[in-house]
């Protein structure tokens, strides 16, 4: 007998033996690796990787494992890369979303891949066609099966066509090939067997009709009407010409995989089932007319049951190599040597492997959360507890990964119908487990996955059977474990449940944290006057039962007198599911009754947070709430944790984005972090001192903090010191200014590099060193051009630096030429020998340099000073070169001198490089944009050529 060995490379991660509190900033963030997909020919796989400021798609050769970046997207809250699929072996379909105002929309592009000397590159082409890809037809190049949106107002809005990539890009369906004659328009098309078998689901009122077609040469056939009632029904794939495999729970308690006759629309024999759990997904193979696998959750873990002996063998081997882990194959190609394997568990964020079926090896190719390497995570244990005659519930206990603090957190899930807990990595669980908490999660009656009877047993049982189940499990736990305190913590329905648990058992629960919850059940029926018309009431009745007097007695709001535990209420002001009205009522009533209460109403959250910062802030606030209420020891907190908690809380109150602005709370927390040596907090505190916001306006104190922050390496603090010492705010010490600009530059501040260069050119605070100055600026331009420094407005900053030097430095002709050469690397200079004609001067309606409709608001040099005033001069520029053409770019220097600058230097001058075209029109204007610029007096505009020849001067008197 052959002994088959598996060599697993890098499968087992060496875990650290220590346990420590995991920072919230590490836990609450997006996964770094996603969407690992094998190409149809298995030669490459694509990975989506998140980096600090961008998301990257890479392509890796399965042969060499060399990884190449093929495209990247800047990280932007308004635009996000969502997903990627292979269209064929040389094309990828990329989906990204962009937000606008109150909504968002999805957009698609095709990436064409070219390989040159082994290095792949990709060219994107936006898709204008509206609809979705039914089947990429991955083994056929340049052709997809596409559901084309043809009638957006109709339920059956799609037509099925073949389109090539150019047609997808242009959106033109004129030459798209209809899938086949008599293809119905449908609500949804489902493809099976690489596009050979198609199902179309048509909606006719409350019924669904399935049309199906097998292979391109058969006509469409249709089943009878299927009533869309409470039964679950999901087509999976064809078994043969007469039968579909479907998932359904009609005539059974659990969802099973069974035959469905296409001839008489009847359900047939059961193909696969589990006595206790719903089958959640399956795959069939119509070529072999068999079931390939089915999946279900058993004791919260995902289980795949394979029916092919080769798959069963592979599963056994992987299970042995990855004990305690769940796994799925992400890419299953026909007869492919390679597969992408994804493994995960409650104590392991996901890992991706390239599994070689031929050599039985697996190599690690990506980790979902590489930044968490080195931290010890808690595993979860699943127990079954009898809650009623013949009824058990499954529950998960996650024990702490550090010495326990004696607190049990009872954490009911949301829903309550059709939701459940799983054995998978949960950042929130690990946050609390790494701080000493034991966390209990119960799949109470109403949870999904345990059959219809179990699911329905939770309907209408809010505040009744559901909380009884949870308390029964807690009772069970208490038989074998002791806890000093028990708290309830939950979100959505879990929030309701947490408050009710504490109301029902005041002796048991010492505190409650309730997030995004509902607390007034009758309010679900009378929140919006149009809910009846929209079907919302019916949906509510499906969970809560009909509106009835009992619901007031089952609402935490109306029973709050009985609550003894302190309460933390977290809510999202924009919550469309559990409206803020629920939390506002609860808060009002709690305060009226004098309950110990704290509330956090997040301005930019809905039914949960839209940003990771919100999750972090909530976690820190909640854990501090528990510590305060229960008097828990915090001596275990490291400096890193203390700083993180203080800065997170401070940031939440600092600018009014997340929570109502509260400068004193923000400063209190920043001060804590600053005292612990956090450089950013020292900087922010210094800024507040400078501005005198809720603190004494003591510049010296501010400078002291900036210095501390600078010494800790915070470049913004060093830069600010450079500014303060440069005679802008009365400190007037150019030597120190130069010193701090240099330090800021060394710490990575690009703007400081330019300031350092300028001071060297102008011998301000430093010995004149023109060559060094030029070298620095040249280097910054090169970095900007090579895209390593693409900060917005950086090119403007470079130009302003050069303009200042041209105006203020005493340059020799040679130096002037060298400077122009450097400027020429940033700005195209066709001519600097310029002359100009003034067209008009005065006040204008806008500051756009090349727009003027012939109207000047005031044609005068004496103007009324007001905020929003735009004034200046409009010119026609000319190049003095005889060969000049209209497109030639001519470059000059100009500056605005504000009132009070007697020596024409210093902070009251703004210097610029001006760019126009030969025979071009250009306005040079100044805008009084804020109150600090309301300075009456003379404002002067001066122009000179790049080599210092004066061109023009005009003074405006603003009164």
């Amino acid at each position: 007998m052959n002994i088959i060995k598996i060599v697993i490379l890098l499968l087992i991660t060496v875990e650290s033996s220590y346990g420590e509190a995991i920072p919230a900033s590490k836990l609450f963030q997006a996964e770094k690796t996603e969407d690992v997909k094998l190409s149809p020919d298995a030669k490459y796989f694509v990975i989506k990787r998140r980096e600090v400021n961008r998301t990257v798609l890479t392509l890796t050769s399965t042969e060499t494992l060399d990884e190449y970046e093929i495209i990247h997207f800047p990280t932007n809250k308004n635009n996000q890369l969502k997903g990627v699929v292979w269209l064929d072996k040389q094309s990828l379909l990329v989906r990204y979303s962009y937000s606008y105002g109150f909504g968002s929309s999805d957009s698609y592009s095709i990436l064409k891949i070219k390989v040159n000397e082994g290095v792949p590159t990709a060219t994107p082409k936006h898709i204008k066609a509206r609809g979705y890809v039914v089947d990429p037809l991955a083994n056929t190049e340049n052709k997809v099966l596409f559901a084309l949106l043809t009638d957006a107002d109709n339920a059956n809005k799609y037509s099925l066509v073949y389109m090539n990539h150019d047609q997808l890009s242009s959106g033109s369906s004129k030459h798209a090939i209809r899938f086949s004659k008599n293809t119905p328009k449908a609500a949804v098309f489902i493809s099976n067997n690489r596009g050979k078998d198609i199902m179309a689901v048509k909606l006719e009122g409350a019924n669904a009709e399935i049309y199906y077609k097998r292979s391109q040469f058969d006509g469409w056939k249709r089943t009878g009407h299927l009533p869309l009632n409470d039964n679950y029904f999901l087509p999976v794939g064809f078994i043969d010409d007469e039968y579909l495999a479907v998932l359904s729970n009609k005539d059974s308690d659990t969802v099973v995989l069974r035959e469905f006759s296409l001839v008489d629309s009847r359900l047939g024999k059961i193909l696969a089932s589990h006595p206790s759990y719903d089958i959640v997904s399956a795959e069939t193979d119509s070529d072999s007319q068999s079931v390939k696998w089915v999946r279900y959750f058993e004791r919260n873990k995902l289980v795949t049951r394979y029916f092919d002996s080769k798959d069963q063998k592979a599963k056994r081997m992987i299970t042995k190599a990855l004990p305690g882990k769940q796994f799925v194959f992400l890419s299953q190609l026909e007869n492919s040597q390679f597969e992408i394997l994804y493994s995960f568990s409650s104590s392991s964020p996901g890992k991706y492997y390239l599994f070689d079926r031929k050599n039985l090896t697996a190599g690690l190719i990506g980790e979902a959360r590489p930044e968490l390497k080195g931290y010890k995570f808690s595993s979860s244990e699943v127990i079954r507890v009898a809650v009623s005659d013949g009824i058990d519930v499954e529950a998960t206990i996650t024990y702490p990964s550090v010495p326990p603090n004696g607190v049990l957190l009872v954490n009911p899930h949301g829903g309550p119908i059709g939701v459940r807990d799983y054995d998978q990595f949960q950042p929130e669980l690990q946050y609390y487990a790494s701080r000493g908490y034991t966390v209990l999660q119960v799949n109470y009656r109403g949870s999904t996955g345990y059959g219809r009877k179990f699911l329905d047993a939770g309907r209408g049982e809010l505040g009744k059977v559901i909380e009884q189940d949870i308390n029964k499990v807690v009772d069970h736990l208490f038989k074998s474990a002791k806890f000093k305190h028990v708290c309830a913590m939950g979100s959505s329905y879990g929030a309701y449940s947490s408050v009710m648990l504490a109301i029902f058992r005041p002796q048991r629960y010492s505190c409650v944290a309730a997030s995004f919850g509902i607390y007034d059940l009758p309010l679900l029926f009378n929140y919006r006057n149009l809910d009846k018309a929209s079907g919302m009431i019916k949906a509510t009745e499906n969970v809560v039962g009909k509106m009835r007097p009992e619901l007031w007695d089952l609402s935490p709001l109306y029973k709050l007198e009985e609550l003894q535990a302190p309460l933390l209420i977290v809510a999202g002001v924009k919550d469309p599911v559990a409206s803020i009205e629920h939390s506002n009522r609860l808060r009002y009533r709690a305060r009226q009754l004098g309950k110990t209460e704290q509330s956090l109403f997040y301005k930019s959250a809905g039914h949960g947070h839209y940003s990771w910062f919100g999750d972090r802030h909530e976690a820190v606030s909640t854990s501090q709430f528990f510590e305060r209420i229960l008097g828990l020891s915090t001596t275990w907190k490291t400096k890193e944790i203390l700083v993180e908690e203080s800065t997170t809380l401070a940031d939440g109150f600092s600018d009014g984005t997340f929570l109502p602005e509260d400068p004193s709370k923000a400063i209190k927390h920043y001060r804590k972090a600053a005292n612990l040596g956090d450089a950013r907090s020292q900087f922010v505190l210094a800024q507040n001192l400078e501005r005198g916001v809720k603190a004494d306006t003591l510049l010296k104190q501010a400078v002291g903090l900036y210095i501390q922050s600078s010494e800790t390496g915070y470049h913004k603090a060093s830069y600010r010191l450079g500014e303060l010492y440069a005679d802008r705010f009365g400190l007037n010490n150019l030597l120190l200014s130069y010193k701090y600009y240099k330090i800021a530059w060394e710490q990575g501040n690009d703007f400081a590099a330019l300031e350092t260069a300028k001071m060297q050119c102008l011998s301000r605070g430093a010995q004149r060193n023109f060559q060094s100055c030029l070298k620095i600026i040249d280097s910054e331009i090169k970095a900007y051009k090579s895209k390593t420094k693409r900060r917005p407005k950086y090119d403007r900053q470079i130009r302003q630096t050069l303009a200042s030097i041209l105006w203020q430095a005493q340059l020799s002709s040679e130096e002037n030429r060298e400077l122009q050469t450097v400027l020429g690397r940033l700005v195209k200079i066709d001519s600097f020998d310029v002359s100009l004609d003034e067209r008009v001067s005065g006040a204008f309606e806008n500051s756009q340099p090349e727009y003027w409709n012939g109207q000047t608001l005031e044609h005068s040099t004496t103007l009324k000073l007001r905020r929003g005033l735009i004034f200046g001069v409009a010119f026609n520029f000319l190049s003095n070169s005889e060969q000049a053409v209209k497109q030639d770019q001519i470059v000059y220097n100009y500056r605005w001198i504000k009132p009070g600058s007697a020596d024409r230097s210093g902070k009251d001058i703004e210097e610029y490089i001006g760019i126009s075209h030969h025979k071009g029109f250009h306005k040079l204007t100044y805008t009084i944009s804020d109150n600090s610029e309301l300075r009456p007096g003379d404002w002067t505009l001066e122009l000179q050529t790049l080599d210092g020849k004066p061109l023009y001067s005009k003074t405006f008197t603003l009164e």
Binding site: L530, L557, S579, N584
Partner: protein
Amino acid sequence: MKPHSIRSFFLLTLLGLLLSACATKINTIKSNTSHRLNDSEGYLLLGLDANESLQSLALTGKKHVMFTSEDLKYGSNYLLAKLPAGDYRIERVRINKYSGFKLLGDVWDIEVVEGNISYGGNVRVNPNGPRYPIELINHSSGALEYIEQYHPGILTSHKLRYSGQGEDKFFKLVRGELNK
């Protein structure tokens, strides 16, 4: 899609002009000074959450009345007014001279009860939003906080009651009127 209870109109019809002309302008109560109710009068309290300023909000019923643009500013605010007690219906919301919504059905009904402050709901107007362009939302706790802060004197001598769709016991709860 809008439900049948909301109809858009885009023309300034003669009928619309006539209807507007018949409606009495409501003077909202802005200060906490005493505004004694006459016999058979009550207070109407409506919230307004609008993403643009409106021209008018008309109610039919015991009397045909109208809130006008000076009270219907963009943002969130409350409208408190004295009206004859009786049944009213929010009938029409005019965005500007040329467009608005006609509201149909009893889902827009509000009762003004004699001697009480009747809270009908918050009129939420967002013509281009993802949900319905106009809704009546129950934000009783916000209404209570508003009255407590800006009209405590009125609240001292008049009960705040919920007058919108369905039954809501929140105001009774905070007054301690619910039976144990």
